[in-house]
């Protein structure tokens, strides 16, 4: 019983302390730029629940979801195709490395040029930035399939789609998940930026509006919301990651033990 308390104490301890310190240190703050924490929380409650949730927050998240899913689909598909053919990989490697090195936000003006400023643009922006880690990591994962395992599949005549499903994708899954994690961070950044740069609705747009019209408390609450979304998505990803790669973490744990 005390073990559980101790663990809870460690997990909650510092965050609670920091929260309390922030609360009391800012309680009477008259600083225009740093309003009291309790006012921020009030603004949080008033601003984001209700109409804004449906009109702005939800569309942003939906665009994020679609963009991310598309990036995963395109990235994995192309990654498998490129990773399976050595000549293709060699051919495309410098091109892909260059495209990946372009800072994703810089693609926003380009995509706006090609796709306007509607929803379509925002989704394309997310895909154009988030696809690279997925693609490149998939290529790497597919390339590194164990030879003995591949020979085993050949000798048991496991070919085509079955081979792709049971051997290639599962073998590459740890690497693909790494790419997916990086892609999620990029997708969130691009979702926010595409709305800050050119938009008429959405979470990023609203936060920038608050800042421009000096609605400071609301702006802080928006920053808080963005932070919470980032944390929530990260936790959700961790959850999925731990289930999909349960075998992988178990394997690594066994390997690390001294024999």
């Amino acid at each position: 019983m005390s073990g559980a308390f101790r663990r809870a104490g460690l997990v909650l301890g510092l965050p609670v302390v920091l929260f309390v310190v922030w609360w009391f240190a800012s309680y009477d703050s008259k600083d225009f730029y740093r309003p009291p924490l309790h006012k921020i929380l009030e603004a949080f409650r008033d601003t984001w629940f209700g109409e804004r949730m449906v009109q702005d927050v939800l569309p942003s998240l939906i665009r994020l979801g679609i963009g991310y899913a598309a990036a995963l689909a395109v990235g994995v598909t192309l990654g498998v195709a490129i990773g399976s053919a050595r000549w293709l990989r060699a051919l495309l490697e410098p091109v892909l490395e260059f495209l990946r090195a372009i800072p994703p936000p810089v693609l926003v003006p380009i995509v706006i040029l090609l796709a306007g400023i509607e929803d379509r643009m925002k989704v394309i922006v997310i895909v154009s930035g988030a696809v690279w880690p997925v693609l490149l990591n998939t290529v790497e994962g597919v390339r590194a399939v164990d030879e003995v395992l591949a020979d085993t599949c050949r000798s048991y005549r496991i070919r085509g789609l079955a081979r792709l499903r049971h051997l290639v994708l599962r073998s590459a899954s740890p690497q693909i998940m790494t790419g997916a994690r990086q892609a999620l961070a990029i997708a969130i950044i691009l979702m926010v930026i595409s709305e800050m740069f050119a938009a008429n609705n959405g979470l990023g747009f609203l936060v920038v509006q608050f800042q421009r019209s000096f609605q400071v408390t609301e702006m802080w609450s928006g920053v808080l919301l963005l932070g919470l979304i980032g944390v929530a998505l990260s936790l959700a990803f961790r959850f999925v990651d731990r289930r999909v790669l349960r075998w992988y973490y178990g394997l690594r744990a066994v390997e690390r033990q001294p024999k």
Binding site: E93, I102, L113, V192, Q211
Partner: protein
């Protein structure tokens, strides 16, 4: 993503193919607008972009912008690396600190740095401090995670030996922790540098801090399409160069380092 070292003669074919790939893409992007497959005013042919790039290289404003970007990037990266290393070593070595701070780190780390943009603008306007705020915040976590992995990776037998000889905290850090953590530190710098560049350009693009990002935003607003593409090309080259340079430095440092380590898959 690590690349295997390729043996001399065998490596020539992939290199040739790679170069061929680049050329093929450049040719494709040259022909597509010319043949009308893509509207030329939205995506100019490669030759136009390259000509514009040459023109940009002759403008003093370009070099000022490039310098501004490099300065912001350098300062932000430097502060983040220093802070991340110190924090990582302290948290990793002082007993109990790691467990106590773990949840806080895992909570703060995934907060997207772009969430800080409005805050930065409010506090610092378009000055360099606002972009630095973004850069340092994001790069710090990259560095911290790597250094923590390095500090934790210390061989338990070596650690017990040091303890049995009653080495003080500073001695332990110097002889035990630092050599083990060094590869991770180097990897951390590389990852942090990549993130720092992205956020530098982002800050310049969105907030308007002087630099290449701001030039791109200006070009975008005034619909100067070829300059915009040329500048994007430059940022890509900057990223590739930095990546290659840091990987080379990493290989150099690790060439003599005997420890075998696995690059921790850290989130951006």
């Amino acid at each position: 993503m690590s690349q295997p070292v390729r043996a001399g003669r065998v490596g020539q074919v992939p290199a040739l193919l790679g170069a061929a790939g680049l050329v093929a893409v450049a040719v494709a992007l040259e022909l597509a607008p010319r043949l009308g497959l893509v509207p030329a005013e939205f995506m100019p042919p490669t030759s136009t972009i390259l000509a514009e790039l040459a023109r940009q290289l002759q403008r003093p404003e370009f070099w000022v912008a490039l310098r501004d970007t490099l300065v912001t990037w350098g300062i932000g990266l430097g502060i983040a690396v220093a802070a991340g290393t110190v924090a990582g070593v302290v948290i990793g070595t002082v007993p109990g600190l790691r467990a106590a701070t773990s949840s806080t780190i895992e909570f703060l780390r995934p907060i997207p740095s772009v969430a800080l943009i409005p805050l930065a603008v409010l506090l610092y306007g378009a000055r360099i401090q606002s972009t630095l705020m973004l850069v340092i915040y994001a790069s710090f976590w990259q560095m911290l995670v790597q250094v923590l992995h390095g500090v934790v990776d210390v061989d338990p037998v070596a650690r017990d030996t040091a303890r049995s000889y009653r080495l003080g905290l500073f001695a332990r850090i110097r002889y035990l922790v630092w050599p083990t953590a060094l590869p991770y530190v180097v990897t951390g710098v590389r990852l942090a540098a990549t993130v720092a560049l992205i956020l530098t350009i982002t800050g310049e693009l969105i907030i308007g801090t002087p630099g290449l990002g701001k030039e791109i935003a200006v070009a975008s607003e005034s619909n100067a399409v070829p300059p915009m593409y040329a500048l994007v090309l430059v940022t890509g080259l900057l990223g590739v160069t930095a990546n290659l340079a840091f990987r080379a430095a990493e290989r150099r440092v690790l060439a003599w380092h005997p420890a075998i380590r696995v690059e921790a898959a850290a989130a951006l």
